[in-house]
Symmetry: C2
Subunit: 102 residues, 2 copies
Amino acid sequence: MKTIYLVCYDIESDKWRKKLSDRLISHGLERIQYSVFAGPLSESLYEALQSWIKMHEDKLLSAGNSIIFLKLLPNQLEKMCILGEVDFDLEMLSGKTNTLIL
Amino acid sequence: MKTIYLVCYDIESDKWRKKLSDRLISHGLERIQYSVFAGPLSESLYEALQSWIKMHEDKLLSAGNSIIFLKLLPNQLEKMCILGEVDFDLEMLSGKTNTLIL
């Protein structure tokens, strides 16, 4: 059972911003904007992510930095109003597809 | 009747990013991260915002830029997981307060 999350961050350190974005993507989230990600996460992956953030909070969450997790319903992503150029797969985001067919 | 929105953007132009952020704030949204805003919008303000974006889409939505509007339920904002330092009023965001008492 997976929950759809929107995750966004303000992280000043290039190195730690990259570490977090790599981790979000490796956990199956898609980048929908430079610092905004979305997609389904199992409870165990969500917990692992929270633990990893906690373990590195001195680097990730220094003054002015923040990371926000927002639980979404799948149809909220389908209904979102997207203006401009984006490069993501809405089916993947809303958890309808979890295998990438090449 | 207002709807709660989360609005986030990737806009390259400093000038037009500032114009949009000023407009979002003047319409009552709160900045929750550098390029992420949230709060209640009436249908007429939402439509006015969309029209303004459309009017300036050549500047706001040039290559690689995007603006996303996501409708939220008030309790989703209340339940969001916020790590780190943020400076916003959750009551305002979720539409429970609309008068700022000074």
